[in-house]
């Protein structure tokens, strides 16, 4: 297509006419689509900007100066929120590692077959059902305040620690279901092939099934990581985590100005868009190339 050189072909006049016709049509369609998109977006924008509340709205939500000015206490909100985001990222990365371990264990336990493994399976099922069903915030409260309340001396007392445990257990339940889906999507014939080579059940899982299963659900895992990143801020209900959203909230509570929230949102989007792009790219590389083709 790109070249007409390789085999010396060049379009016949008829084909050139067709190509020209198609190009014209395509241009017209694109133009219509573009114009209508622009019109829709434009109408919304005009409506918003000309609304009677626009000025106050802008001051409340888009007061750029406020976010970048040095505050009376010497801080700059933009910087504080950015620092908070860095904390979100660190918590998310550390939690993700623990999540993957917990989730893999639960997924493998649930994938065991046969009555022998009933107790283990039951444990894993109970765990995933419970933690998928509980609102995240309740899990955080239960762990963040409940475990320290027991005052078991050798257990840590830190709300951050227990908040992270709560997140790990919540997400672990979700991610274990994702991993299980991945593991179970690997055709049994792969297992048969591995076992027939003499690999044990464990080796088969380790070298054949899990690597393929994980690969297959990588997009879902990445999506969950994005969610986790956004949810790390929830730990702040326990009082300790100066994440991006809390820093924005503190700034807002000083001034009743919501721009710090908008700014925090922007930072999150900037951070997550590349992640979702990677996710999409992986998903595309694995699956069909869309419903595509030329029809």
């Amino acid at each position: 297509m790109s070249t007409s050189t390789n085999d010396g072909w060049s379009p016949s006049p008829l084909q050139q006419q067709r190509d020209a016709y198609r190009l014209g049509r395509a241009r017209r369609s694109t133009l219509i689509a573009a114009v209508s998109s622009v019109v829709v977006v434009g109408v919304i924008a005009v409506l918003v900007v000309n609304s009677s509340g626009w000025d106050r709205f802008r001051e409340t939500f888009f007061d750029v100066g406020y976010v970048f000015e040095r505050q009376r206490d010497g801080t700059v909100i933009a910087l504080e929120v950015l620092k908070g985001l860095w904390l979100n990222v660190r918590i998310a990365v550390i939690a993700e590692i623990a999540i993957l371990i917990v989730a893999l264990a639960a997924a493998l336990a649930r994938s065991l077959r046969g009555p022998v493994w009933f107790p283990l399976r039951a444990l894993a099922i109970g765990y995933t059902d419970l933690f998928r069903g509980l609102p995240q915030i309740l899990v955080l409260l239960m762990f963040g305040f409940g475990m320290p309340a027991l005052q078991i001396s050798w257990l840590p007392n830190s709300a951050l620690f227990w908040g992270a445990v709560g997140l790990v257990l919540s997400y672990g339940a979700y991610v274990s279901e994702v991993l299980r889906a991945g593991i179970e999507s690997i055709h049994p014939s792969q297992r048969a092939a591995s076992r027939s080579l003499g690999l044990t059940h464990g080796q088969t899982m380790r070298y054949v099934v899990v690597p393929q299963g994980v690969r297959r659900v990588l997009p879902a895992l990445l999506n969950d990581f994005v969610s986790l990143l956004k949810d790390t801020g929830l730990i702040s209900v326990l009082g300790v985590v100066y994440d991006a959203v809390l820093n924005a909230q503190i700034a807002t509570s000083q001034s009743y100005n919501y721009t710090p929230y908008v700014y925090a949102g922007l930072l999150f989007v900037i951070l997550t868009i590349p992640l979702t792009r990677v996710t999409d790219w992986i998903a595309r590389r694995q699956g069909f190339h869309g419903v595509g083709g030329t029809v």
Binding site: D73, P148, A159, V237, G239, Y242, S255, Y256
Partner: protein, 306 residues
């Protein structure tokens, strides 16, 4: 954490602005000092709240309330003792409930012309619609006055450090002894600002979203102390913590006098009348009476030395 140094300058700004915007600098300042000083005279029964309507422009037929003829008062859900009792603003119990009804009376609304509306904190400050004023321990500050209106102050806030008996800071007498403690405060309150400005602790304070969470953290010894306003300090240490203890009041920075005011929508037509009503209540001793009745009048915790 790096935010402590410029604190004192900020403090003075705040109080100055408060005075200007309420339009009653003298009354406001005088009121607050008299309120603090005259606590011993609480319950002298100077006014009662009854009957003393403001009149003038501040009557139900002149006031442009959200629902004509009715005063719609907002507060959050849930509300905490001792500011309101049983999470029920309509029962007239608790300091803020009493103040709200007294203000309504000043404006000429009898009890049955007062409607309550429960709104969240964010909803109140971001939407500013659907009610006439909001009473929910909003501290007056210059920054906030850019976005909202506030009446003059109906309560003079003293920030107080509480703890549990036997904790590292139990019995501390100076601010310096608190520096190494793990402290907490509620978000959205000026307690947090005061904590950072006055104590400037070495570890960043914990920030809680409601009183119950803060109390729980204190009980669990996840924090050593909590900075709250004085009435809350009394309520928590007496009613909610098994072995709570008040450490002491934070010393104010020079002219910094923090007050709670009624929150009104920016440029609300009612702001001036609300301020007048609060000032009248202060003048006629009602605020003191309420203080004595609902806050025990005991704003007498020891002041920590600097």
């Amino acid at each position: 954490g790096s935010s402590d140094s410029a604190g004192s300058g900020g403090g003075s700004d705040t109080s100055a602005a408060t005075g200007q915007t309420t339009g009653a600098p003298a009354g406001s300042d005088a009121g607050s000092s008299s309120g603090a000083a005259g606590s011993g005279a609480a319950g002298s029964g100077a006014a009662g709240s009854g009957g003393a309507a403001l009149g003038g422009d501040c009557t139900p037929d002149k006031l442009q309330t959200t629902t004509p003829g009715t005063l719609t008062i907002a507060t959050s859900e849930p509300v905490y003792e001792p500011w309101m009792v049983d999470n029920d603003p309509t029962n007239g119990k608790g300091y803020e409930s009493a103040v709200a009804y007294a203000v309504a009376e000043q404006l000429g609304y009898p009890k049955d012309k007062v409607a309550w509306k429960r709104v969240g904190f964010d909803e109140a400050v971001a939407r500013q619609q659907g009610w006439d004023f909001d009473i929910n321990q909003f501290s007056i500050s210059q920054d906030r006055l850019k976005r909202v209106d506030m009446s003059s102050g109906y309560y003079d806030v003293t920030q107080t450090v509480i703890t549990t008996k036997g904790s590292p800071i139990d019995g501390a007498t100076s601010v310096g002894q608190l520096k190494d403690a793990k402290l907490g405060a509620m978000i959205g309150t000026t307690s947090l600002t005061a904590l950072n400005d006055v104590i400037a602790p070495n570890s960043k304070p914990s920030v809680f979203k409601d009183n119950a969470a803060a109390a729980q953290a204190l009980k669990n010894k996840q924090i050593d102390g909590l900075v709250v306003d004085l009435p809350t300090a009394f309520y928590m240490t007496s009613a909610q913590l098994d072995n709570g203890a008040i450490v002491g009041q934070l010393p104010g920075t020079t002219s910094e006098k923090e007050q709670f005011g009624l929150l009104l929508a920016k440029n609300s037509p009612i702001t001036a009348c609300a301020t007048k009503a609060v000032d009248a209540l202060r003048a006629n001793g009602s605020l003191e009476k309420f203080n004595a009745e609902w806050l025990s009048g005991k704003d007498t915790a020891p002041v920590l030395t600097k």
